[in-house]
Symmetry: C4
């Protein structure tokens, strides 16, 4: 049932890695996560740009989402060209070579009990 | 006031059944839930595909949402053609025979106090 | 700066009033809430239908969102033509006489610490 | 990779600053936040209107999101033309001079453990 579903451009207005954590890692470590679905028969090459309030954007960060696969990444895992800072107000722009579906999910365990958010970012062609 | 509202294709980028739970079942059991509204006069036949990071997709799983009804399912209830694993990064693609509206809601009770997320997945024709 | 912003049809796939509560009322009472923005110069007359898994829909429930106003309602406040049950899987379909913007927000205080979800429902013309 | 991504009109149906807080400020102070991504090469001039249930809208509040930057604001920081009240049901309408992407994120620390919501508001041209 292969099919191209989604968009090539995704934008996250509120990106932030919470500054500290409670609970066992990696499950309960505070993180800002991005998940992608590539339902197509072609690998998706993604470029991710990180925007800041007071400096030029960082990136691009390169990601591959193989054909007919999902990929879940945490922003603190990105190291090239530079680490993504914690406790910093950011935004994201993602471009993909083929249509994909993105979802942002943040786990905030700064307090003893974790809080979660999840959104479908803004999609564009 | 019968009407066809929604789309035929729905995609979830971040699907995950939390790995453990606190609190009384079934209310407080960690789960990944999908809810559907079929406002039309025709039954909706749904096919759900589960995508993984490191293997081919599972499914299709068949669901029926009767005419003028809602249906709420938990992914751990799906058994055919195979159970949906917990604590695994996944994504979902859902196709319906008639337009429906989908919503994803996850209850995460891995810690003593539960956390919730809910999103309208990405919709397509 | 008056303007007509939004859509005339809104659909909620996952509607549920949590079955019990902790904490002071009304702030911390579990509830399923709907909020509307009517940015236009005309009053918006809304009809809300409640869908179930095992019976015909309830409603319509009538709501008015005055011109240039917001309205926030909790589903447990709706009494006519019948109360909306708690601890029941439901979905919603809302029709408005003029374009409005809707948002669903649920407070779940079944455990000592509350959890929140908020989504923009599916919009249609 | 400069580009104009997003929309010029954004609407939030459910806006509310929680009435009290637990935990260290400013991180754990209850707040209603708005984040914007301006991926374009032009500064974005924003006008924000606050809608109420029982009075005329307040505003406009003026914000600038510089070119190629993000901006994260908390509604309690807005002072001109008047402060935005807490514990009050509100809605928002935002107009921008260039396309931007908005996201709403609320931290509710009225109880000891915080709860979070985040949504992409309704977008229009």
């Amino acid at each position: 049932m292969s099919e191209e579903v989604g968009k090539r451009v995704w934008a996250v207005g509120d990106c932030r890695i919470p500054g500290w954590s409670h609970g066992p890692e990696p499950e309960m470590q505070s993180h800002e996560g991005l998940s992608f679905l590539n339902a197509s028969d072609r690998d998706a090459e993604l470029e991710l740009e990180v925007f800041f309030e007071d400096r030029d954007p960082a990136g691009p960060y390169d990601l591959t989402v193989p054909a007919r696969r999902t990929k879940h990444v945490r922003l603190n895992e990105l190291r090239d060209p530079e680490p993504v800072p914690a406790a910093t107000d950011m935004a994201l722009l993602i471009r993909s070579s083929v249509p994909v579906v993105a979802q942002q999910t943040r786990l905030d365990s700064r307090q003893a009990e974790n809080a979660l958010i999840s959104v479908i970012p803004y999609a564009s062609d």
